[in-house]
């Protein structure tokens, strides 16, 4: 029985090459997309599950309400104080992401990337594989550090540099105490070097670890098994009030994140590295399933379309005793066999395509058939898809009554209507995907072309070593740089455009008393006095800083009030209740961390428009630009005016090497940094484009098959019409007309759906392309879908129409 079914199934597949090819290719593409996306999803959800007790390890995060900051890291005293106040916390550990740090080994300069400064017990939380030395005790000593294997090889040329020494920022010397394996790629952490947190008081001052304003320490807690994190986090507001002062929990809050949730759900400011996104995972899973669904619909449509071919077989089988159940079983077997063949092709496609996909996403994705679990999943996939795709055709084909079939009376019934509905669905999803791709690309375009309010072109930016003894060097460095004819100007600032600015201060209007209501939180950026000229920022009112306004004194016990200047952006002026013109000349008091008695009095000297300082994902904030201060000279911007910047860059590197010999130079073009801000969207756009192309291709395959069957079914009609004088054009029009209606209907469905989803997607951006800029996509997508449908059908139709009419009538 089974072998008979298999034989018939096989003959059906071989005997209908067009039908089989369309189904196998379509299903293979759908299955391949699903496999690739599954591999991707599996990888994305594997983050940080490898650590011991990962399910009860939490990261503490901090929110500041006044300037809408959602930080992934907290201040250094928070970890120890939490552990002290809440004895149920089993352990805590902290790590400061220090970014790139200059380092020298035997006089050779390096820029150590992603240096972290951590508590000695970090290895208890994260069991990195230790290759050399004793990691557990390595960071007890403030002058020790730990490297990853690649870093050891890169900086010491050996994988065992235990005992070798390195000098950080030209000053602090440290010894290699352990080497660990490189970090797995599926962790939210990123570092190649760990320094001891005990070195921080030595480098940054004895109270550095007690600073509640330095929210740069990723802090992890281990809670007891079965402990609900809410039981702890509900007591955080009281904790803040206790340590920071009553009522402070109104302005900031602490939260807990499960370690394993960080990668997909945390999208906070100052994350350790760019995290994944649950929305992306869902979106691409949905798109892959849609492609598979379109392929399944092809199978359903093509099978029922040629049902008259099978009707006779069904009738005869029933006459000789087959039950409906047996026939359903037979047809399901056929669909499953077909899906199995498609799966073989899909696996081949995955083997070929996955390396490209992985390289494109820069993720270590892999797929291996050697894994029995994978094989099992694929088999289950074959059966599920086979049963799903085959279900409707099986029930439909098996319902024919033998008498009618054998008398030739069995007709398509209402399957024609369902078929049309499914074609509409296929095209609607394809069109929606096409529009979605277009909108994503339009938004990218829009972001690239938006007027940022300043001129970022031709700027080279360099981070400066954060090391007090070097500060005196920065002024002469700038002067030296500007001697080169191609260098227009060089300016310092605490941040450069494109960076997220997390610095902020508390300000009060000079004419108001210090109360909770009068205190306003405003972001601040410290900039060089020619910074606004350098970046071509226009002034709404007032003027830029003057040379004599540089370097103000911090308030001290002896001099509790010091004077300075400030430039506001429009939002900041508005927050303080001033128009740009009113603001100029006003006095602002900037509170310091050492109480309300000590403050800086700043005179507002100018107001600039709100400029898009950070990525367009973020809103423009109320911002105060403060006068330059060597402590905050963290970034150097160098504007080059030359078609070929090579000579200027050479000069820059030479001057740097001469004046900052202990620190390696590292520069980037600001434009490149900006491009990187939107890279994940750019990639999403490209992936979307790829997937839409697949969806449309599979839908077109189906339409091609359907058109060919329809044409075949109408051969006689075409013949008669031709005998009656119809031209080729008449026939092609006749056959395309029906499908044209379906594609138009598909547009009616796709348009609102695409509009809804894409408006929602655009809401992720603070600055989004207006509808007018992408409305044309709807029309273009409609025409594209129509064109594809017409070409597909016209090819079929013209073949039938140009045949001599006697051919059409002969089969009588």
């Amino acid at each position: 029985m089974l072998s008979n079914y298999l034989k018939i199934a096989w003959r059906n597949i071989v005997g209908n090459p067009l039908f089989s090819a369309i189904n196998i290719i379509g299903l293979a593409i759908g299955l391949a997309c699903c496999i690739i996306i599954t591999v991707f999803v599996q990888y994305e959800s594997s983050f940080d599950k490898q650590w011991d007790n990962a399910d009860r390890t939490y990261r503490v995060t901090r929110d500041f309400f006044s300037n809408n900051l959602r930080l992934a890291a907290v201040a250094p005293p928070i970890g120890p104080l939490l552990a002290e106040d809440f004895p149920e916390i089993e352990a805590y550990t902290r790590a400061l992401g220090a970014g790139d740090v200059g380092m020298s080994v035997d006089q050779e300069q390096f820029m150590a990337e992603n240096v972290a400064i951590a508590d000695p017990n970090i290895f208890e939380f994260f069991a990195f594989e230790v290759l050399h030395g004793d990691a557990a005790t390595a960071l007890e000593d403030p002058s020790n550090f730990v490297l990853t294997r690649s870093a050891a090889e890169k900086y010491f040329g050996t994988d065992n540099p235990i005992g070798r020494r390195a000098v950080f920022m030209g000053q602090a010397e440290a010894t290699v105490a352990a080497v660990i394996e490189d970090l797995p790629s599926n962790t939210h952490m990123r570092f190649e070097m760990l320094l001891s947190i005990r070195s921080i008081p030595l480098m940054m001052g004895p109270t550095a670890l007690e600073n509640w304003g330095s929210n740069n320490y990723y802090t992890y807690l281990r809670l007891p098994e079965g402990y609900a994190p809410e039981d702890l986090s509900s007591r955080f507001p009281a904790f803040i009030d206790k340590h920071q002062g009553a009522g402070r929990s109104d302005s900031n809050a602490l939260n807990l994140q499960r370690l394993t949730d960080i990668h997909l759900t945390s999208n906070r400011d100052a994350e350790w590295r760019e995290n994944g996104s649950l929305a992306t995972v869902y979106t691409f899973s949905a798109v892959a399933l849609v492609i598979l669904l379109i392929a399944c619909i092809n199978f359903m449509n093509l099978t029922t379309a040629r049902s008259t071919q099978r009707a006779k077989e069904v009738g005869i089988r029933k006459v000789v005793g087959a039950t409906r159940g047996q026939l359903i079983f037979q047809f399901l077997g056929e669909s499953t066999l077909l899906v199995a063949l498609a799966m073989l092709l899909a696996v081949a496609i995955v083997e070929l395509a996955l390396p490209f996909f992985a390289a494109f996403l820069e993720l270590p994705l892999s797929f291996s058939l050697a894994n029995p679990e994978t094989l099992g999943v694929l088999l289950v996939g074959v059966v599920v898809v086979g049963l799903f795709a085959g279900s409707y055709p099986a029930f439909y084909l098996s319902h024919f009554r033998p008498v009618e079939v054998l008398k030739g009376q069995a007709t398509g019934g209402n399957s024609g209507l369902l078929r049309k509905g499914l074609v509409v669905f296929q095209f609607a999803t394809s069109i929606a995907l096409l529009i979605a791709t277009g909108v994503v690309m339009m938004q990218m375009q829009y972001v690239r072309n938006i007027d940022l309010g300043y001129d970022k072109a031709n700027n080279i930016v360099l981070p400066l070593p954060f090391f007090a003894p070097l500060w005196e060097t920065y002024e002469p460095l700038k002067v030296e740089l500007e001697t080169h004819p191609d260098i227009v100007s060089a300016v310092y600032s605490s941040r450069v455009p494109g960076m997220l600015n997390l610095d902020s201060g508390v300000y009060i209007r000079g004419d108001e008393q210090i109360t909770d209501e009068s205190m306003v939180g405003i972001s601040d950026i410290k900039v060089d006095y020619q910074w606004f000229d350098h970046y071509n920022v226009e002034f709404l009112a007032g003027r830029s800083f003057r040379e004599n306004e540089r370097r103000i004194e911090m308030p001290t016990d002896e001099q509790p009030v010091t004077q300075g200047a400030a430039i506001l952006n429009e939002s900041a002026a508005r927050r303080l209740g001033w128009s740009p013109q009113e603001a100029v000349g006003q006095i602002l008091r900037q509170l310091t961390s050492s109480g309300t008695e000590k403050f800086i009095e700043r005179e507002v000297v100018g107001v600039i428009p709100d400029i898009h300082f950070a990525s367009l994902h973020n809103e423009m904030k109320a911002t105060l630009y403060a006068e330059p201060n060597p402590v905050y000279n963290r970034q150097l911007s160098v504007k080059v005016d030359a078609r070929d910047p090579t000579s200027a860059i050479q000069h820059l590197e030479d001057v740097w090497a001469r004046m900052l010999p202990a620190n390696p130079v590292s520069w980037e073009f600001l434009d490149d940094n900006f491009a990187a801000l939107y890279r994940s969207e750019q990639r999403q756009a490209q992936m979307f484009g790829m997937f839409s192309a697949f969806a449309i291709f599979v839908a077109t395959l189906g339409l091609f098959g359907l058109a060919s069957f329809t044409t075949e079914r109408r051969t006689k009609e075409i013949g008669i019409r031709k005998v009656m004088g119809a031209s080729v054009r008449d026939i092609v029009l006749l056959l395309t007309r029906d499908f044209t209606g379906l594609v138009l209907l598909a547009n009616v469905i796709a348009w609102p759906a695409a509009f809804y989803f894409m408006s929602d997607w655009l809401n992720r951006f603070v600055y989004k392309a207006p509808f007018a800029e992408w409305a044309w996509l709807f029309i273009v997508s409609a025409f594209a879908a129509l064109a594809v449908a017409w070409i597909t059908i016209a090819v079929q139709a013209s073949r039938a129409a140009t045949a001599r009419p006697v051919m059409a009538l002969r089969y009588e």
């Binding site: 031709k722 001599r804 006697v806």
Partner: protein, 232 residues
């Protein structure tokens, strides 16, 4: 009207050649009623198809109203066809999806006649054929005889000078068959040239001339009793 000289039609299927028509010489004049007879597979239908330009000869000359159409392109043939020839088939060849009226009006559609005129003309022809009351039915709802009358109506609606009928009575009972033949006789009497393929010797009596075929060749041309009677 029709002149065929040494006309051949050969079908090739793979390496096998089948000669359907071999050295056909035939002349048909305006106003004739020709019956083509012969056993199954002798080439009757092929001859009719070539005559109706539904198929092209492999070699030879086919003159239609003075033009040698043997090598005309399909589009040109379609044009001559729709202006001059009406077809009637054994299996009626009506389009199931169209109503009786629409089926009859179909040839006018392709002559770009406005829809109102098409409708009026089709109604009048149906009236003449005595099936006007079925105008809005579908072909399957009609008896065989009625369907064939619809087919005849469709063939004559363009007032063709030539009607080709391929066993028009083959699927009909005797009564209905006679009715169709009467219709054809009437058309012939009105001046339309008719070429009819038939198996039935009794039907050939309606013709003015009978062409006998065997194995793709024309055997004899008999002048039938009707014609003899007329001559007499």
């Amino acid at each position: 009207m029709i002149e065929m000289h040494d006309l051949n039609k050969v079908y090739r299927t793979g390496n096998v050649e089948t000669t359907a028509l071999s050295g056909i010489n035939l002349e048909i004049n305006n106003g004739e009623f020709i019956a083509i007879m012969g056993p199954s597979g002798c080439g009757k239908s092929t001859l009719l198809n070539v005559m109706g330009m539904l198929d092209t000869p492999t070699s030879g000359r086919y003159g239609f109203q003075g033009d040698d159409v043997a090598n005309y392109a399909e589009a040109k043939l379609a044009d001559i066809r729709k202006r001059n020839i009406g077809f009637i088939f054994q299996s009626f060849n009506l389009i199931d999806e169209l109503t009786v009226l629409e089926n009859v009006a179909l040839p006018l559609l392709y002559q770009k006649m406005p829809s109102r005129e098409r409708r009026e003309l089709a109604e009048s022809v149906l009236e003449r054929m005595g099936i006007a009351h079925r105008a809005n039915h579908r072909p399957q709802q009609l008896s065989g005889g009625q369907q064939q009358r619809v087919a005849v109506a469709r063939a004559v609606i363009t007032q063709p000078s030539l009607i080709l009928a391929d066993e028009p009575t083959g699927n009909l009972d005797t009564g209905n068959g006679e009715e169709v033949l009467d219709l054809l006789n009437q058309l012939n009497a009105d001046g339309t040239t008719i070429v009819m393929v038939t198996h039935d010797p009794s039907h050939s009596d309606h013709a003015s001339r009978v062409v006998h075929m065997l194995d793709g060749r024309v055997l004899t041309e008999n002048v039938t009793s009707v014609q003899e009677a007329r001559r007499a």
